[in-house]
Subunit: 140 residues, 2 copies
Amino acid sequence: MFALDPAFAASSHRLLELPLCEARLQDDSRYPWIVLIPKVSAARELEDLSPADLPRLMAEILAAGRAVRAMGQAVGRPIDKLNTGALGNVTPQLHVHVVGRRRDDPAWPGPVWGHSAALAYEGAALTHALGVARQALQGA
Amino acid sequence: MFALDPAFAASSHRLLELPLCEARLQDDSRYPWIVLIPKVSAARELEDLSPADLPRLMAEILAAGRAVRAMGQAVGRPIDKLNTGALGNVTPQLHVHVVGRRRDDPAWPGPVWGHSAALAYEGAALTHALGVARQALQGA
């Protein structure tokens, strides 16, 4: 049985269910940032996915990239570069980060992971970000 | 025409040509670490790859993961976790890092990217690492 690690609930908000992954918005308003968690029990590494799931994951990574771009555009901060990473050193359940980066963001040009404490979204900004991301991910 | 960014030659050693990517050994003896550069002109993001190239990239990422595991085993330091990342904030040509991580490595549990200066392989260790990685990647 698939169960989401509680660490994700503490750091992100549920966006929607894609065919393979649960898509979540990372609760850090400094970066448009989506986390994809494949709904596959006990998966820790990409190699734990089935041959059928791998292209699906790639499709959902591309969709998350489009959504992250849309989030940047929607707040007048278009992104310069996508960063995609599957690390899992802290939370080993398989998950993929898709982050929109700008040359003026706090961690540039380094990675966002482990850089500094998140700056949570405030009310209206959270609602807006969730709406933009969900619209962009619909049908992915 | 595809051309490798000179930054890769400065930081890594050519392993072999896979169907989609040039595979290179990152010249940092602290981590078994392979870099995959798709041989696609002007590609910067995953979305710049064709629908046919995307599953090929995923297959080569999995092969690089197996090679990184083999490299860790070969020196008696089996890895605890794979880290896979496509960042490109410094070198925008599309490339994917596949890094074998251990709980006792210098950057754990943070990312290796941007952590600290590389510790280059010395002669025999480089030859050995290249040999193990090439053997593991053959036929990928």
